[in-house]
């Protein structure tokens, strides 16, 4: 859309006009006097860091939360939504970031839940069929949701939303779980919706996407609107600076030509699925050399958690030789022995897996280090040394917290993650395995963590990063392999591959055929 068209929308009356929206949670001001206008037929981006107040704002618009102050007008009429049902009845639909689907119900049942009582189950299949033809939303009504991919699940959400003929569709981080190809399909659907005159409120932290899709953007920081702009007139850098408030430092990732020997090796590692919705690992073979950052890309639920568990020793392999650290077979050994051999692990879930939420930071150090001898004296704990280590990590890794030794759960996501990465990196491990190291972490802390990982690798350690964030992997990884249905592809050298190639592998394309196609 051109600039003149954008100007034209500004003259008209907005579809949605939010004025002075304020939301207080105790002492915390999540939204502070936010004004937001959305016009019909417009794709409007809502930008901001984690914790800037985006989710709170859209939850208020969708009737999930009640604002403490402020007003909402729809088509010039003042409205107040007591529930999502009221919001939907007024023409506001929402596609959630973490899908609001029911895994053990079928596609049709999931859709039936949002339709009025009068609608029979029989008519739903026909309605799904109509949507498929009109918007390209391929869906099989009889399938159980847990068998579907993230892209298919999102289509259910969108279908559910569209069946109510909404005037405004809110999408919360819609592409964070999609392959690049699935994202393209989504963009095509969104374009049809926009041309039908529906408004789209698009929440994302992927600024390239926002520049491509949206004609206007509202930027939030710390609960306030800091800017309203036209993303196409801005660069990714300037948008990021608006969100963060300062200029971001680029992560330095000079290519490393000084690779050491294999430090972490997986030999034909297979592992049956642990539960009903789990994924089996199938004959995984890879090796990470000293000095490199090795990335594992893939869409959530393709075996990343299982791979991490078998690397850390939470899940033992059938043969010891399946997992090797510096040439020592540890597949049958638990996590403590693996740590003693120099490995360190940072799981995805910060609160509850990487850290005990109600334990102090120094106690959390003891939890991951008690087998290494530096926080114990014989049978007793050396809490003084744990506290000293904690202070050291907090200082070196710039962890912001309140109190001398607070409980882990009181730290913000970014600060806790910096602490947890610091806890492992400060040991100078020979092998470091991380699962989603910057998931839900703000941009500044993410950049900091990524830089630390590169520095650690350049000191000779082998760093394995499992991540769904392709941007992250392209920024820091020397080689990237893709995990799909528990199968890990042959690694590709980051400099010699493209997002499209990785994306195809994430979607399940055969690796060998793909590389052949590229060779031609």
């Amino acid at each position: 859309m051109s600039l003149s068209e954008t100007k034209a929308t500004e003259g008209r009356k907005p579809l949605i006009a939010m004025r002075g929206i304020t939301k207080r949670f105790g002492d915390f001001l999540a939204n502070d006097g936010i004004d937001l206008d959305i016009h019909a037929g417009e794709a409007h981006a809502l930008l901001g860091e984690n914790g800037a107040g985006k989710s709170t704002l859209v939850k208020i618009l969708y009737g999930l939360l009640e604002s403490s102050a402020g007003s909402i007008a729809l088509d010039g009429q003042a409205v107040s939504f007591a529930s999502p049902e009221a919001a939907r009845a007024a023409g506001i639909g929402m596609v959630f970031q973490h899908f609001s689907l029911f895994d053990n119900l079928t596609v049709a049942e999931n859709i039936a839940l949002v339709l009025p009582d009068s609608e029979g189950m029989e008519g739903i299949a026909a309605r799904i069929d109509t949507l498929t033809r009109r918007y390209g939303l391929q869906l099989d009504p009889k399938r159980d949701v847990w068998t579907l991919s993230a892209g298919e699940r999102q289509r259910i959400e969108i279908a559910r939303c569209l069946l109510q003929n909404p005037k405004l569709i809110i999408l919360d981080e819609p592409t964070s779980v999609l392959t690049p190809q699935e994202a393209e399909t989504l963009f095509a659907t969104l374009e049809i919706l926009r041309l039908e005159g529906r408004a789209i409120l698009y929440i994302s932290h992927k600024l390239e996407e926002v520049r491509r899709l949206c004609e206007r953007a509202t930027v939030l920081r710390a609960g306030k609107v800091v800017a309203t702009c036209q993303p196409r007139e801005e660069s990714v850098r300037s948008l990021a600076a608006l969100m963060v408030g300062t200029h971001l430092v680029d992560v330095r990732a000079k290519p490393n030509d000084m690779l050491g020997p294999d430090r972490l090796t997986l030999n034909h590692l297979s592992m049956p699925a642990q539960d009903m919705h789990g994924v089996a690992l199938k004959d995984v073979t890879l090796s990470v050399r000293g000095g490199e950052v090795f990335g594992i890309a893939g869409i959530a639920g393709n075996g990343q958690d299982e791979l991490f568990a078998s690397l850390s020793g939470e899940q033992l392999a059938r043969q010891g030789v399946a997992v090797q650290i510096d040439g020592i077979s540890v597949g049958r050994e638990g996590i403590n022995l693996r740590r003693q051999y120099g490995a360190a692990f940072v799981p995805e879930e910060r609160n509850g897996h990487a850290a005990a939420p109600d334990f102090s930071l120094s106690d959390n150090i003891i939890l991951s280090r008690h087998a290494l001898g530096d926080v114990t004296r014989g049978w007793t704990l050396d809490q003084a040394n744990a506290k000293a280590l904690m202070r050291d990590i907090v200082e070196k890794f710039d962890v912001r917290m309140s109190g001398a030794d607070p409980a882990a759960r009181t730290l913000s996501g970014g600060n806790l993650q910096k602490f947890l990465v610091g806890r492992e990196v400060s040991r100078a491990p020979s092998v470091l395995v991380l699962n989603q190291p910057t998931w839900g972490v703000d941009a500044a802390a993410s950049a900091d963590i990524r830089q630390r990982l590169i520095n650690l690798a350049r000191q000779g350690a082998a760093v394995l990063v499992i991540s769904q964030d392709l941007d992250e992997l392209f920024e820091i990884a020397d080689r990237i392999a893709v995990i799909h249905h528990g199968h890990v592809s042959a690694p590709l050298i980051t400099r010699e591959t493209t997002r499209e190639e990785i994306g195809l592998l994430m979607g399940g394309a055969d690796a060998t055929q793909e590389s052949l196609a590229h060779a031609h």
Binding site: M94, F102, N104, L105, L113
Partner: protein
Amino acid sequence: MSLQMFELVLFTIFTAATPLIIAAIGELVSERAGVLNLGVEGMMIAGAASAFAIAILTGSSWLGILGGIGAGVCLSAIFGVLVIFLAANQVATGLALTILGTGLAGLVGSGFIGMKRDAMAHLSIPFVSELPLVGKLLFTHDVFVYAGWALVIATGWFLSRTRAGLVLRAVGENHHSAHALGLPVRRVRFLAVLFGGACAGLAGAYLSLSYTPFWAPGMTAGRGWIALALVVFASWRPAYAFAGALLFGGATVLQLHAQAAALGIPGQLLTAMPYLVTIIALVVLSLRHRRGAIAPASLGLSFMPER
């Protein structure tokens, strides 16, 4: 064993299974909505005591039944308010409910120990009860047995075929999603808990008005716990719970006959048989249906909407 004897044994299997069927269906609905109520035994025995007391005082079995149901509903309402609206721990509250129910039953029933009533009349359904073999076996029971069968069919139909049943399953599956869709999570759960209480009370009323028409403390003899176990092993499916209850009832009746026949097997072992047989059979059954047969994902979790 004569044919008549055989018929009698089969007949009593249905009667022995009935309290389990009724209580298990109630608990199944409650658990499908995501609420684990461990107080079935307590609600059942309070229902038994109240039903008997009211039946003696008024002389009406029907008012007794209503009294039994009412006792179950009242106790489950206390439980529901605590765990659903005040987010109390479901396991602890459920256990406390059993203790409370047992105590209340002892209090209510204390004046009625040793009294006897006639069991409720058996209804002979015209024509079909004249059928050879199955006629007597299936169509000459009392109202409780038919109520149990009706509950199984109605609940199965409700859960899988109606929109309200879909909403109930959705609430038990993922309360956050259900709330985000605007479904009234806590109201649905409360109603499901009340239904569970009503069923447990009805099962108790059956025991004291029909199965053994008198009141004795501890007369439920762990049937509430068996009903709870049945729900789990039946993978939260009404038809399986029905089959499991029949199996348990069958084993109970058969072991009684085995004891009477003096086979030389220790009585305690025979008494334990129904429990063992039921658990083994249902474990095998639930292993076979592992894929589609898992617990409601939000079972036992409290839900408090943020506003």
